[in-house]
């Protein structure tokens, strides 16, 4: 029940914020913070009362009939992985509300309505254990995100919003077809027609069918992640969205793709996933290098950061398809660290835009002198992005590469080149924006107290992740074991197969 409350709090908070928006600017913000705070308390309570790393099952498992005629249930459950991602959701939620404090001053009520509904949809995605319900939330978060980009975005927002919606909707529908096909295959073989995740696990089907169904799921998740040939929507959506939108996109929406891979694709289709693994890893490496190269070529700061996301998400898919615990730990670290570091870079880009009304890095330069705090923050997160030891991203990428090394040495070597490329684009941000020739016509103020607090929290978190990652790894461990078990068990050829990759 508590899990349902978490979603309902966000939903009703959103409605309340929307209604009160007419009266005052402040009320929606406070309501949003309250709703997020309430959820945070619930989460902390769950964490406190249920933590038991040895436990392999779900911490809380909540099930209700929804449309029993069609085998649809309201099945929510939480485990370590969901818990970590929910914490991330709430964190990003807080950050999004806080950074919009000054940026959004029109239609505040509706803005926060959308914000909270996106978060509700994402929380639903992280909690659903019924495939229909999962799809329901998966689609539900698109609409408010569409409005967020469409109404509060930059110049080219309408185009970007369309593109975002159509890409994700089209790929989501392919997943939906797969879900339905899985449902019927399971129903025909066992006689119980259900969308329940636990029951659909281990549905027996022929290899080509499994591969086809997996392809449907992959379509949705790889577009969200995004993986290189399907990444086209991302730079537009990220760069045109308002800062809060970009932060949520980078910090959470992309992660739903990674979560989907770990929670659904691998457990539902272990055999097909193993045969897809080589392609998955190659896609990952391509993403790492291609994203980094394009990031280097951008002049629009937000677009640049958007492409670094493509590059970082390449590590995620690489790690997922390496099929071992170390890489998986890295993937989860990467999910969190990337959300924080890239989110912070988007926030910085947003703060710069508020001050000088441009995202073009050619028009910036030497800002460190006027805004040293901002410069320092930019430096820290650029370093995080390039994977400096001591910061969260380093741990993540190191673990992923270590894990991948076991399966394919050559791919790991190529992926390592991505780190070099990351250094190039990250340093370029610092060089072009904060150092370099000072453009004297620009007069900017340094970070305000509110902005300092937001960025300081993020800095603390990213350093904490870099120095003490053990807590998160412990929390995620049972989920990882649960995901990897069927793959390790059912495929004795596993290691051979992967070794066949050059």
């Amino acid at each position: 029940m508590i899990l349902l409350y978490m979603i309902l709090i966000l939903i009703s908070g959103g409605i309340l914020a929307g209604i009160t928006g007419k009266r005052s600017q402040l009320l929606p913000r406070i309501i949003s913070l309250t709703a997020l705070g309430a959820d945070l308390i619930l989460l902390l309570w769950i964490w406190n009362s249920h933590t038991n790393p040895a436990q392999n099952n779900w911490w809380i498992d909540y099930k209700l009939n929804w449309v029993p005629t069609l085998g649809i249930g309201l099945h929510l459950a939480i485990d370590g992985l969901s818990l970590i991602l929910l914490f991330l959701t709430i964190l990003i939620g807080f950050v999004s509300v806080l950074i919009s404090w000054k940026e959004i001053h029109e239609k505040t009520g509706f803005f926060h309505f959308n914000l909270l509904w996106i978060l509700a949809g994402i929380a639903g995605v992280f909690l659903s254990l019924d495939l229909f319900l999962f799809y329901f939330f998966w689609e539900l978060m698109l609409v408010p995100m569409y409005f967020l980009i469409n109404i509060w975005g930059h110049e080219n927002r309408i185009y970007a919003a369309y593109k975002f919606f159509l890409y994700t909707q089209a790929s989501g529908l392919l997943m939906f077809l797969s879900i339905l096909a899985l449902y019927f295959i399971h129903g025909r073989t066992t006689g119980t027609y259900t969308f329940d995740y636990n029951q659909l696990l281990g549905t027996s089907m022929s290899a080509p069918v499994a591969f086809l169904l997996m392809a449907g799921f992959l379509a949705a998740f790889l577009v969200k992640l995004p993986v290189v040939p399907l990444h086209n929507w991302l730079p537009d959506a990220h760069s045109e969205a308002p800062t809060a939108g970009s932060v949520i996109l980078a910090g959470l929406l992309l992660k739903t793709g990674a979560y989907g891979l770990i929670r659904f694709v691998l457990p539902l289709f272990p055999d097909a996933s193993v045969s897809f693994a080589p392609f998955g890893m190659i896609l990952g490496v391509t993403g790492i290098l291609y994203g980094a190269k394009l990031a280097f070529a951008q002049t629009d700061l937000k677009r640049l950061v958007a492409y670094t996301s493509v590059s970082h998400m390449g590590f995620v898919i690489l790690g997922v398809y390496a099929f071992n615990r170390i890489a998986f730990q890295g993937v989860i670290m990467q999910i969190i660290a990337h959300a924080i570091s890239t989110g912070a870079l988007f926030i910085l880009a947003g703060q710069l835009y508020e001050r000088i009304h441009t995202r073009d890095i050619a028009k910036m330069g030497g800002l460190w002198k006027q805004a040293p705090v901002m410069g320092a923050m930019g430096m820290i997160f650029a370093m995080a992005s390039l994977g400096l030891p001591g910061l969260g991203n380093f741990v993540a990428e190191f673990l992923i590469l270590t894990g991948t090394f076991k399966t394919s040495i050559i791919i790991t070597c190529i992926a390592c080149a991505g780190l070099v490329a990351a250094t190039v684009y990250a340093l370029r941000i610092v060089q072009k924006v904060f150092l370099g020739r000072e453009i004297t016509t620009l007069k900017i103020k340094d970070l305000s107290v509110r902005e300092k607090i937001i960025t300081a929290i993020l800095v603390i978190l990213i350093i904490y992740l870099g120095l003490f990652p053990q807590k998160i790894m412990d929390t995620a461990e049972p989920s990882i074991i649960k995901t990897l078990d069927p793959i390790e068990n059912t495929m004795p050829l596993n290691s051979n197969l992967l070794n066949s990759i050059p």
Binding site: L140, N150, I151, A161, L166, F176, L180
Partner: protein, 473 residues
């Protein structure tokens, strides 16, 4: 005729009797309020009387009518939708200077035709129903005859509908020639024993399909739709899009399932091709439209394409999905056209996309309803349109109709694009056009349809259960 038969005919008789009473009143004194009142009361009584049929179903008044759960379901849907159209028309008609009263008389006759259609079990009743409906529609479409578009639309509809009726009739004749029967059940029995082998028979069915296809605006018989939708007064457009399509769909479902057309490969091929064409052409043509009525017209074409999928499933679930889809489509369309009706003034209908720029910032609640309706048409979760599409895809996959299902999915994406165009307009910066105020009863209708859209989208279980309980043939 026994007592049960009379009982079953009550809704039909109420709907048929009301115009007579209205005519008497008009003969005595023209008073729009009285006529409006009579219409409301008559529809309400008719709706209530539907519940009294329930104990006596299934009942057949052979050889013309059949009253089973399916009929009753459609009776309910049709009468309720007509009631809403009646209320929506009220304010709209006030703009008209003279002859407002006859509108409702003709509307009742059109509803009568629709009811006959949904209870038809015989070619004669089928044709009677279709003609009663069409002939009233000719008049309704041209009801605001001072507008140029209205007459043009009516003439277009008149000519094409007559041609299509001729096709329908000829098709029926050919089938009669081969089977010697006019009743669906007898035809189906004969077909089961002889098969569909004769070319004449197939020609007959195909010609019938032309006739029905015209009424449902299936491609390639869809050309009239945008013009008629645009030219007709908005409430009439609403009626055509909801009640008239629903009723024709009902009889098509009944007939097609009776003859078990989903077992014949010729039919499967024909319907598959028509369905795919209807979806794609409807959606693709909608993309570039600037007129909201035309967008919705093309969208209705595409929606009928989705509905055709249920014909080929040949399962009970297929019928349920079709009924659910019809309900959800009618509700959603009522919401969308209802809003257009609200904003339509004396001189012209508010059908330009630009009329709605920034509606959200001026009339947030109405814009939310409109957005919900559009999202429902696009099939986004939490709206009834999603559940309806899901149900069709569900039954389609169950029956292995992969080509149709995949083209439905592709079309959902295309459809989403133009619905988003409208939504984007609603949320764009406001212009300085003023919107007229909204009356209490219109607000009530919008509230009602919104609740239904959300309710069926979030908790469809009860409705699906109800449909499954009653909609067997």
């Amino acid at each position: 005729m026994i007592r049960e038969d009379f009982l079953c005919l009550t809704p039909l008789m109420i709907i048929a009797g009301a115009p007579v009473i209205m005519m008497l009143f008009i003969a005595l004194k023209r008073n729009f309020k009285i006529i409006y009142g009579i219409s409301l009361v008559a529809f309400l009584i008719a709706f209530i009387s539907v519940f009294f049929i329930l104990p006596s179903i299934p009942d057949t008044i052979s050889p013309v009518f059949i009253f089973d759960g399916f009929t009753v379901m459609f009776f309910g849907i049709i009468i309720l939708a007509s009631l809403l159209v009646t209320i929506l028309s009220h304010r709209y008609l006030l703009y008209q200077e003279s002859e407002r009263e006859e509108y409702y008389i003709i509307l009742f006759i059109a509803v009568l035709g629709s009811l006959i259609l949904s209870a038809a079990s015989n070619f004669v009743t089928l044709f009677l129903g279709i003609e009663t409906l069409s002939i009233s529609l000719y008049v309704l479409i041209a009801y605001r005859r001072s507008r140029r578009n209205s007459v043009e639309a009516a003439v277009k509809y008149l000519v094409l509908a007559s041609v299509s009726s001729a096709f329908l009739l000829f098709g029926m004749g050919l089938i009669y020639l081969n089977t010697g029967a006019l009743e669906f059940s007898k035809i189906s029995l004969l077909l089961r024993s002889q098969g569909y082998s004769t070319p004449l028979l197939l020609t007959g069915f195909s010609m019938m399909l032309v006739g029905i296809g015209f009424k449902l605006a299936l491609v390639p018989f869809h050309m009239w739709t945008p013009d008629v939708y645009e030219g007709a007064p908005v409430p009439v457009t609403t009626f055509i899009a909801t009640v008239s399509k629903g009723a024709v769909m009902a009889v098509l479902l009944r007939f097609f399932y009776a003859i078990q057309g989903f077992r014949n490969h010729n039919f499967i091929l024909l319907i598959t091709v028509i369905a795919i064409l209807t979806m794609f052409i409807g959606n693709l043509l909608a993309i570039r439209q600037k007129n909201l009525k035309r967008i919705l017209a093309y969208s209705s074409i595409a929606n009928m394409g989705y509905l055709l999928v249920t014909l080929l499933t040949g399962t009970k679930d297929g019928i349920y999905a079709a009924v659910f889809y019809v309900i959800s489509y009618i509700v959603t369309t009522l919401a969308a056209f209802g809003i257009i009706t609200l904003f339509s003034g004396k001189d012209n209908d508010a059908d330009q996309l630009d009329d709605y720029a920034g509606l959200f910032w001026k009339r947030p609640w109405i814009a939310i309803v409109f957005t919900l309706a559009l999202l429902s048409l696009a099939g986004i979760p939490a709206t009834t349109g999603f559940m309806a599409k899901f149900y069709i895809v569900y039954t389609g996959i169950d029956s292995g109709l992969w080509i149709l299902v995949i083209s439905l999915v592709i079309n959902s994406v295309i459809g989403l694009y133009y619905y988003l165009r409208v939504i984007t307009k609603l949320f764009s910066p406001a212009n300085n056009l003023a919107f007229p105020s909204v009356s209490f009863e219109d607000k009530l209708i919008l509230c009602l349809v919104t609740i239904i859209i959300l309710w069926l989208g979030i908790n469809p279980e009860g409705t699906i259960h109800l449909i499954a309980l009653y909609s067997g043939f």
